[in-house]
């Protein structure tokens, strides 16, 4: 058993050698470790069961999801990495499972970037909705305001369709002659969310992340293979949920089947969430969807309803019709407020997730390199 070592600031050697302040007897540490591993899984289950079942995939819900993810990730690192003899991490099956996990981590970085771009696209939708809100708030409601609202709503709905489209980036609209209500949309024919690398596909990325994700069997299921599997599952689930919610490049064919163990405690809350989301996805996929984000779904519904109103509008409108519309406009306004308040923080959170998993990956890589003393270094 390596002796306790000093840690030198800034020395990566020092970081690895930090030991917990415990008496490390063989039996004692082993039990402690088992307990930690089990606690980790239990906590995962707890955290996901605490996610509210209603308001699924709203901005607030996604923010909570990411919070829980960060907690899981921190605990995972503590359990697997801290105080660990590096050579443990190089033994089978970890010598295969850890690099797999790190590969998933790298893939999720691109997902984070794609989702961030998608959230920018949503800001665009938000602005169009706000135009409609401002216009329809006007009292008395006249032709002018309704026309304005209709123009914005038409652009909004067109943009939503466009965010769903798998259309490649098209040239800027060269023809200016087609000036109609959707003129605004024409000026931005390229989907905002389609600015990832060419050929990048969110659904393919998720699919790739799912490959090789399998529960450890037999005697592998004790020891570190299990938490690695759990963490991998959590990571992929979170990324998958983000992709389902937020428009990002090429989500066609997003798989809805998840290889999560159904009966196991830690997985059950995730499984039930996953099934709910998958159901929604399947429903919407046929018609084309701009993403399951709750706010956007509602915005879409309201958009359609208000466009209908605008189409049939004649000044002056009947009072009860106006009352109805007022309610819807208020709802739309609330959604815009939620987006105004929530989109930026969500983007910041995703960025934090990005940072955190980059950092963790680095730490793992250092330890793995340390452990792989026997492998030929890259000289």
């Amino acid at each position: 058993m390596p002796a306790t070592t000093e840690s030198n600031q800034g020395s990566f050697l020092g970081r690895i050698s930090i030991r917990r302040n415990q008496v490390m007897s063989m039996d004692g540490s082993h039990d402690q470790e088992l307990e930690d591993l089990e606690l980790f899984q239990k906590h995962v289950g707890d955290r996901f069961s605490e996610l509210p079942a209603d308001d699924l995939l709203s901005i607030a819900w996604l923010r909570r999801l990411l919070d829980e993810f960060l907690c899981c990730e921190a605990e995972f690192k503590a359990v697997v990495l801290m105080g660990r003899d590096p050579s443990h991490l190089a033994k089978p099956p970890l010598d295969r499972l850890l690099p797999d996990l790190l590969d998933r981590v790298v893939k999720s970085l691109d997902v984070c970037n794609a989702v961030t771009l998608g959230l920018d696209a949503l800001k665009n939708l938000q602005r169009l909705a706000e135009i409609a809100v401002v216009a329809l708030h006007h009292s008395p409601l006249g032709d002018g305001q309704v026309r304005r609202a209709k123009k914005a709503l038409a652009a909004l709905l067109a943009a939503m369709l466009h965010e769903d489209a798998t259309a490649k980036a098209t040239e800027r609209s060269r023809s200016f002659g087609r000036r109609q209500g959707t003129a605004t949309a024409k000026a931005s024919p390229r989907s905002f969310s389609c600015t990832m690398a060419r050929n990048w596909s969110a659904s393919k990325q998720i699919h790739a992340m799912l490959s090789n994700l399998a529960a450890p069997r037999g005697n592998e299921s004790s020891g570190l293979a299990q938490p690695v599997y759990v963490m991998g599952s959590v990571l992929v689930f979170v990324m998958w949920a983000l992709v389902a919610a937020v428009p990002c490049q090429e989500r066609n064919g997003l798989g809805t089947h998840f290889p999560l163990p159904r009966q196991v405690g830690w997985a059950q809350p995730m499984v039930s969430l996953q099934e709910k989301i998958a159901e929604e996805w399947k429903k919407k996929e046929k018609k084309g969807t701009v993403g399951l984000l709750d706010e956007i779904q509602r915005m879409e519904k309201l958009g359609h309803s208000l466009v209908e109103f605008a189409d049939s509008f004649q000044f002056p409108a009947e009072a009860d019709r106006l009352e109805e519309v007022k309610k819807q406009v208020q709802e739309l306004s609330d959604i815009c407020t939620r987006m105004q308040d929530g989109l930026e923080p969500l983007q910041l959170q995703i960025r934090e997730v990005f940072h955190r998993i980059v950092r963790s990956r680095n730490e793992f890589l250092v330890v793995l390199d340390q452990a792989g003393k026997l492998s030929t270094p890259p000289l």
């Binding site: 135009i131 200016f176 990325q205």
Partner: protein
């Protein structure tokens, strides 16, 4: 100008309602030519707006304002698009060098506007041949940006002619004061963003995912990094800066922070796309060969940061500044990590196959080249490397790591200490490798060769020498000298032992006092040993000619006098006997010649040349 009567104003607005008549759709109000239409229209809009603030607003007026705003929105878009088609940024220069023939563009169209360099006389030679704004007849990418001068400070260009800017501003004022600022931002952002995207394409700014970057070979990435560095300077200092200027020209003072909002709409996506590449590089797996390009990237970004801070100075653009700073910090971390990786790799380099002939090990060359490059980058690295290496078995308890007393290097920078440490662990590794030689002499030779190489490399570079310091250099010199001595001891003690006096004399009586049989044995032994050493060590190599000479001279200085004296004293005893030539095989000259064969790395024939034949 007199204000228009309201009715007249309404008529004008309605006349230009594009949803109402074909004619209204086909003609534009703001064409850059007849100003009267435009001025009149604006007047009409102003009149309508004025009447909105009166107590009783008619439904007609209500409707008219929306028609006017819709029209103005279209006009706004049209002005932007018709000029954007002509003025997307196309960076090419006239290349002074003969090596890169320049592809000439079409001459500028008549609507071109001259470039206004920010500081025309900052003494850079680049001014005349620096970026020229090229104009294409349509927005499609014409020539590839073959090469362009590096921009070293912010240089905005006027993206639109000033009368277009004026018109846009007039329109924007009306739209914003009527509460239509969102529409304005929407239109502006989408058109200008497309233009920036087109400029990016022409610059060759690629969209690569992090996965793409991980998969590419490092050599390809080096090229891309080089291109990125050049492109990023143009993007930040000219493209983004010019867009910002345009926003200010149009929107400054119009509403609150509209110019910021429009600017961010325009550049946020492209900026993120630009920085994502640098970020992907900063995340890539660390391996030693990446260090210097990563430092290049780090330096370029450091150089750009002040301009990034200036261009993205608003609150809404904070995230971009933050991301750039994060990337910079990550690049620094990556550099530190790579240096650690490198040190580890040097320590652990496991090859056991001994280098034939005891010559310079590839590891030695690699490491010395590497630290020589490090010395080239010392300015940046001195800023990044802030802690000294944790060294020595005392600290790590690992006998596989050499000791180094940091106390000797109190006044050296951490980077310097790292370099010394690298040399220490290189030697440690080499010492380990030397043990794989079966022949102890060769082991010493190997150490001597390699440490000498290190010394030469350090001496040959003023930076390295200054960083390593003469004290440590002295230590290294001492080490290879000692290796030379150890070599000589290992090989020649036993050879010279044959030429010793003791044991040859027999006591007593009338006899000459020298045992002939013993003498014959000695000669035989000497000859045999020498031949073997000669044959073996001719194939050994000392690449440095001066060192080779010195060692040969040193050998000769001990060997030749000893042999000469031995010959002189004892040959006569054998010459009178049978076959003296079997024993006295070599003359002094023969030996002198033979020594010249040593360490050439060339095998010699079985037998020594014998002059005396």
């Amino acid at each position: 100008m007199e204000s228009l009567p309201l009715e007249t104003a309404e008529k004008i607005i309605l006349r230009w309602d594009s949803t109402a008549s074909e004619e209204a759709r086909e003609k534009m109000i703001f064409t850059g030519e007849h100003r009267e239409d435009a001025d009149l229209y604006l007047q009409a809009v102003d009149e309508i707006q004025r009447s909105l603030s009166s107590v009783a607003v008619s439904e007609k007026v209500n409707s008219a304002i929306q028609i006017a705003m819709a029209r103005l929105e279209d006009e706004f878009r049209n002005i932007l698009i018709s000029h954007t088609n002509n003025a997307s940024f196309d960076p090419t220069t006239e290349e002074e060098s003969h090596h890169h023939p320049h592809h000439h563009q079409d001459p500028p169209s008549s609507s071109s506007s001259p470039m206004h360099p920010h500081n025309a006389d900052d003494g850079e030679e680049v001014d005349k041949t620096s970026l020229l704004l090229r104009f294409d007849s349509d927005g499609a990418a014409s020539s590839a940006a073959s090469s362009y001068r590096s921009i070293s400070s912010i240089r905005e260009v006027d993206l639109l002619p000033s009368d277009a800017v004026y018109d846009l501003r007039c329109i924007a004022e009306r739209m914003v004061s009527s509460g239509y600022l969102r529409e304005c931002i929407q239109v502006y952002g989408s058109v200008r963003k497309s233009s920036v995207d087109a400029s990016f394409r022409k610059l060759g700014v690629e969209k690569l995912s992090i996965g793409d970057v991980q998969r590419l070979e490092w050599e390809q990435l080096e090229n891309k990094i080089r291109r990125w560095i050049r492109a990023a300077k143009v993007c930040v200092r000219t493209i983004f800066a010019s867009e910002k200027k345009l926003c200010e020209q149009i929107f400054d003072g119009v509403g609150t922070a509209i110019d910021d909002a429009c600017f961010m709409e325009t550049v946020k996506g492209p900026a993120i796309q630009l920085f994502n590449f640098a970020e992907a590089i900063s995340i890539s797996r660390r391996s030693p060969e990446k260090l210097f390009k990563i430092l290049d990237l780090h330096d370029a970004l450091t150089d750009l940061m002040p301009d990034i801070d200036v261009v993205f100075d608003s609150k809404s653009s904070e995230s971009i500044r933050v991301q750039a700073a994060e990337i910079l910090s990550r690049l620094g971390e990556a550099a530190r990590g790579i240096l650690s990786e490198f040190e580890n790799a040097v320590l652990r380099e496991p090859s056991r196959v001994p280098v034939p002939g005891g010559t310079i090990h590839p590891l030695t060359r690699y490491v010395m080249n590497y630290i020589s490059l490090i010395s080239d980058y010392k300015v940046t690295l001195n800023e990044l490397i802030v802690s000294k290496p944790s060294t020595g078995s005392r600290y790590s308890g690992d006998p596989g790591i050499p000791d180094m007393d940091l106390g000797e290097f109190e006044d050296k920078t951490p980077l310097d200490v790292h370099l010394i440490w690298i040399i220490v662990i290189l030697q440690f590794n080499l010492d380990g490798k030397s043990k794989h030689y079966k022949d102890a002499s060769l082991a010493h030779l190997f150490v001597m060769n390699n440490v000498h190489y290190i010394v030469q490399k350090v001496r040959g570079s003023p930076e390295l020498r200054e960083m390593i310091g003469d004290d440590y250099l002295k230590k290294l010199t001492g080490k290879f000298r000692q290796a030379a001595t150890s070599y000589q001891r290992a090989t020649w003690v036993r050879v010279l032992y044959c030429l010793r006096d003791e044991g040859l004399h027999v006591s007593g009586g009338f006899s000459s006092g020298v045992s002939k049989s013993a003498l014959r044995e000695r000669f035989k032994a000497f000859n045999g040993m020498f031949e073997e050493v000669h044959r073996t060590q001719a194939v050994w190599l000392i690449p440095d000619s001066q060192l080779r000479e010195e060692l040969r001279i040193s050998i000769s200085e001990k060997l030749i006098p000893a042999y000469r004296s031995f010959l002189g004293r004892f040959r006569s005893h054998l010459e009178s006997g049978r076959h003296p030539e079997n024993y006295i095989k070599y003359s002094v000259e023969d030996l002198e010649d033979a020594v010249l064969d040593f360490f050439e790395g060339i095998p010699v024939s079985q037998h020594l040349r014998r002059r005396s034949e």
